[in-house]
């Protein structure tokens, strides 16, 4: 081949080779990766505008709204259009840190998507921004529905709150997106699946500057699906009264429920917090205050606080012993002389009771009688009955946070104290002091065995359409009858006299929990009426002294109010 032809052939190869490369890469982009690039081009031009679905409302048992929605202003920024000055101005008006804004703007990958930088903004702040909006490119204001708790602190622990989803949660919960609210603690968390709606989507065509050109006809908008409403068993008015009865005490909890079906009327714990504050996003100081270990306002005492249950344990020991046939109602131990010596220790009673039978020992809450009964029963029989009525296990209430407490059974004792644990431990346990721990909700549930005519322990619940069920306890009818008589006697003539309500036969049991850190905790669990009780109330007042003098009258008042409300509403 001559040189000229060689040169010609070479150039020809170069020429066609170059275009072959072009065609190859076109083929790659358009055919092999065409779908991907088509999707990218659609993502470029189509902005998804979410239509926020309102969260379902929450009602009390009488149909009053205890959580609803209200409109709130928000401020958002389109990163691609905003300038430094505007960010500074907005930060100054909203009184937030510039870095906080910039951090939020960085999370969104598409610079033309507007990012909410502050929510639940005050009307005044919005007015200032609106006034200057012409000078603030990329800044937008809008209105969105947000959660509202009209009775703020009153139901805070029951309802929980909603707040913006965290980055970590976003990674785990695929169905959520940046800026969504999610239920935290309480009913909001428990029933997130029911309450949360599904946001709708409007498809808007935008140009490269993010300017909205209108809806895209080929994409059908998706309407939002509002969340479902939730009807609770809660009695708002009764809860409000309960809060008033407890107003003088800084730390307390109260449960009122129907012992026949488990519906909870009152679920109250104090101190509390304003759940509305979370919608806006908390400042660091607010968050620190909520987590302050001394006040712990976020701490829900109904299901999370574990206390020894004091003398409220005594009816269970009595029930256990009677049922096992180990004693009869008339059984007397050594008389109470104000205490009992065990080895070189002396276990006190709170009073000199003399010789009592079982019923009177409950009525007058004689510790010496129960020291001896406990010793007589033995650790295994005691812990058996405690487990049977639900201590040391979660209650199964439809509520997300619950502690299990502790029943110090033999194995636990041996682990804790070695082989050398003594009868002294049984003495303490027999009067509900020492190692045993239970939550107020466990205590309330355990007492339904006395209040429930089916001889069941009934699990409390908050959702009106849910039944958490009950558990039949195989105990002799006679044994239960005897203890019920005793509980009625407690209020009629014993330590719980202050729980008396005119016109109703209240039964119950006082408890005083020794507190090494300060004043004793005051407990009372009571129910009424004696036959077919409609309401069971458990009140724990921290650092308030004797159960008979503080908790008992409060329980009485709650029961009285319950009947007043029911009488009024049924006559309406």
């Amino acid at each position: 081949m001559d040189q000229e032809l060689k040169t010609y052939r070479f150039l020809q190869t170069l020429l066609f080779g170059a275009f072959a490369v072009i065609l190859f890469f076109s083929l790659k982009l358009q055919i092999f990766e065409g779908t991907k690039y088509y999707r990218l081009s659609e993502e470029n031009r189509i902005k998804k505008k979410y239509i926020i679905a309102p969260r379902g409302k929450i009602y009390d048992r009488w149909g009053k709204e205890i959580a609803n929605m209200r409109p709130a202003f928000y401020v958002s920024i389109i990163p691609a259009l905003v300038d430094k000055n505007s960010i500074e101005t907005v930060a100054r008006i909203l009184e937030i840190d510039i870095n906080t804004i910039q951090k939020k703007l960085k999370i969104e990958k598409n610079p033309y998507v507007s990012v909410k930088i502050n929510r639940d903004v005050s009307f005044k702040q919005i007015s200032i921004i609106e006034e200057k909006i012409e000078e603030l490119p990329g800044v937008e204001v809008g209105v969105e529905p947000v959660r509202n708790y009209p009775y703020n602190q009153l139901l805070c622990h029951l309802l929980g709150y909603v707040s913006e989803i965290t980055d970590l949660e976003l990674k785990q919960l695929k169905e959520y997106k940046i800026g969504d609210y999610i239920g935290r603690i309480g009913i909001e968390q428990q029933y997130e699946g029911i309450l949360a709606g599904k946001d709708g989507i409007d498809y808007i065509e935008v140009d490269v500057k993010g300017r909205e050109l209108g809806k895209v006809p080929e994409y059908r908008p998706i309407p939002p699906i509002p969340g479902n409403d939730l009807y609770t068993t809660i009695d708002l008015e009764l809860t409000d009264s309960t809060a008033k009865f407890l107003k003088d005490y800084p730390k307390a909890s109260a449960i009122a429920m129907n012992p026949q079906n488990g519906e909870i009327y009152v679920f109250y714990s104090k101190p509390g917090f304003d759940p509305n504050r979370f919608v806006h996003g908390l400042t660091d100081e607010e968050w620190l205050a909520l987590n302050n270990p001394k006040e712990a306002p976020l701490y829900n005492r109904v299901t999370m606080s574990c206390y020894p249950i004091g003398s409220t344990i005594k009816p269970f020991l009595a029930l256990g012993a009677l049922d096992l046939g180990m004693i009869g109602a008339e059984k007397r131990f050594d008389p109470c002389r104000g205490g009992l010596k065990l080895g070189n220790r002396y276990f006190r009673c709170w009073k000199i009771h003399g010789s009592l039978n079982l019923i009177d020992a409950i009525i007058y809450s004689c510790d010496v009688y129960f020291y001896q009964l406990g010793r007589y029963l033995g650790i295994d029989n005691i812990t058996d009955i405690l487990f049977e009525v639900g201590f040391g296990k979660p209650t199964g209430i439809d509520f997300p946070q619950e502690k299990v407490g502790l029943v110090p059974e033999r194995k636990w004792m041996e682990r804790r104290y070695g082989k050398n644990w003594t009868e002294g431990h049984i003495f303490n346990l027999s009067i509900g002091q020492g190692d045993m721990l239970a939550t107020p909700i466990q205590l309330a549930r355990a007492y339904t065995i006395f209040a429930n005519q089916e001889n069941s322990i009934v699990t409390p619940h908050l959702n009106k359409n849910l039944n958490t069920g009950s558990k039949k306890i195989e105990k002799k009818i006679d044994a239960l009858k005897l203890v019920r008589e005793a509980l009625s006697g407690v209020v009629a003539r014993g330590t719980g006299m202050m729980a008396q309500v005119q016109g109703f036969e209240v039964s119950g049991k006082t408890g005083t929990v020794e507190n090494p850190h300060g004043e004793d905790h005051s407990l009372f669990v009571g129910y009424a009426p004696k036959e077919n009780p409609e309401i069971l109330v458990c009140v724990v007042v921290e650092n308030a002294g004797h159960g008979g003098s503080v908790a008992a009258p409060i329980v009485g008042k709650i029961i009285k109010t319950y009947y007043e409300i029911n009488k009024r509403l049924s006559s309406e």
């Binding site: 040189q3 000229e4 040169t7 010609y8 070479f10 150039l11 020809q12 020429l15 066609f16 170059a18 275009f19 490369v21 072009i22 065609l23 890469f25 076109s26 083929l27 982009l29 358009q30 055919i31 990766e33 065409g34 779908t35 991907k36 690039y37 088509y38 990218l40 081009s41 659609e42 470029n44 031009r45 691609a80 610079p111 065509e205 935008v206 140009d207 490269v208 500057k209 050109l213």
Partner: protein, 389 residues
């Protein structure tokens, strides 16, 4: 060769009409009208030029070269706005760099055709000086895209004039040395492998050249790199790693790929490109018009465009081969390599396989000067076909 062969004019006009349609789609009626006028003028001038005697080019090669270089110099001094690329003459503007390409090709062809044999190392120097003058003037405008085009034109013309390919490769190896010097290992690898290649040719001058020029090029590149404008650096970085900053420097490349890729096989349809319509596609009617063809007409559109170009270049190459006059043959090769290189670079850039340099797509991109200069090129080739001597 047929004395009445107008096929290259016809094919060029077809490509231009395709371009016109795309300009209507990307720029709207006002751009379309202006470009249509330019096209009319360009075809007329092309036909006029085709009547010239081919001897004219040889006679006036140097004056044309000097004239276009002076024009380029004047625009540098008198241009009213930055970058200093355009003369504003009433309602239209002229870009002398487009015409400097023609002047340079003509003069380079004159020089190369006057040499008996082009195969020595020293034969590089004069051609380099010839292209360096317009290239430098355009570089300081600044227009890096247009400045670099002279170089491949010269290489192909040298090759056509008889310079062996290996020599060109060795002579320009300092450029490869410079590129590879961004990584010391790549550079060492290049120095060794290329050294073995040069050594096997057993030519002392070549070995010495390799041992001196390549290390120097490799060492001064960092200095040159730092002297580049930051946007120029960014463009190179963006090319090397396009997803490094998708909102910033790589935006154009990514949006162009999205436009082409989303066209798939049949395209989104004429006037229906969303990347184009919503302005995601940058420089839609000029540098990135090919992306718009890809978006609206899909692979079919790209295939047709490429086939039209292939046909045009195939014809030009044939003409160059069949033209027995060395000068005229070199002119045709010069014009072909210019158009071919711009087409390739532009398409490669829009496809994301080459760095983004502002090179228009011949006959298709919006721009009067570019269109006119292309048709002048075609006119020169026609005059060569029609007026053999």
């Amino acid at each position: 060769m047929n004395r009445k062969d107008y096929s290259i004019l016809i094919i060029s006009t077809i490509i231009s009409l395709l371009g016109l349609a795309m300009i209507f789609s990307t720029g709207g009626l006002s751009y379309f009208t202006r470009q249509a006028l330019w096209l009319g003028v360009a075809v007329l001038i092309c036909l006029m030029i085709s009547r010239f005697s081919s001897r004219f080019w040889q006679t006036f090669a140097l004056p044309i070269y000097i004239f276009t270089c002076i024009l380029t110099l004047i625009v540098l001094v008198y241009a009213s706005s930055y970058p200093r690329r355009w003369f504003n003459i009433g309602f239209f503007s002229l870009q002398p760099s487009e015409f400097a390409k023609i002047g340079t090709i003509l003069f380079l062809a004159t020089y190369l055709s006057e040499r008996k044999k082009i195969d020595k190392f020293t034969d590089f120097f004069i051609p380099i000086i010839i292209i360096a003058i317009p290239s430098f003037l355009i570089f300081v405008e600044p227009d890096l895209g247009a400045a670099q085009i002279f170089f491949p034109i010269m290489c192909i013309m040298l090759f056509w004039a008889g310079m062996p390919f290996e020599k060109i490769l060795i002579f320009f190896s300092p450029i490869i040395s410079a590129i590879t010097s961004f990584s010391i290992y790549t550079w060492l690898g290049f120095m060794i492998i290329f050294g073995i290649f040069v050594y096997s040719r057993k030519k002392l001058t070549e070995i010495l050249y390799h041992l001196i020029a390549n290390p120097i090029a490799g060492l001064i590149t960092p200095i040159i790199w730092h002297s580049l404008k930051s946007y120029q650096q960014k463009r190179i970085i963006a090319f090397l790693s396009p997803w490094i900053d998708p909102q910033g420097i790589s935006w154009q490349s990514i949006q162009s790929k999205i436009a082409i890729g989303s066209g798939r096989l049949f395209g989104k349809g004429f006037l229906s490109g969303t990347q184009k319509k919503l302005e995601f596609l940058p420089e839609r009617h000029t540098d990135f018009i090919f992306s718009c063809i890809g978006e609206e007409f899909g692979l079919i559109g790209i295939l047709i465009t490429v086939l039209l170009y292939i046909f045009l270049f195939y014809k030009l190459l044939r003409i160059a081969r069949e033209t027995k006059n060395k000068f005229l043959s070199l002119v045709v090769i010069g014009i072909m390599s210019w158009l071919w290189y711009q087409a390739f670079i532009n398409m490669g850039m829009t496809l994301g396989i080459l760095p983004i340099t502002g090179v228009p797509l011949p006959f298709i991109s919006y721009g009067g000067s570019a269109l006119l200069s292309c048709f002048i090129g075609i006119g020169i080739v026609l005059s060569i076909i029609h007026n053999k001597y």
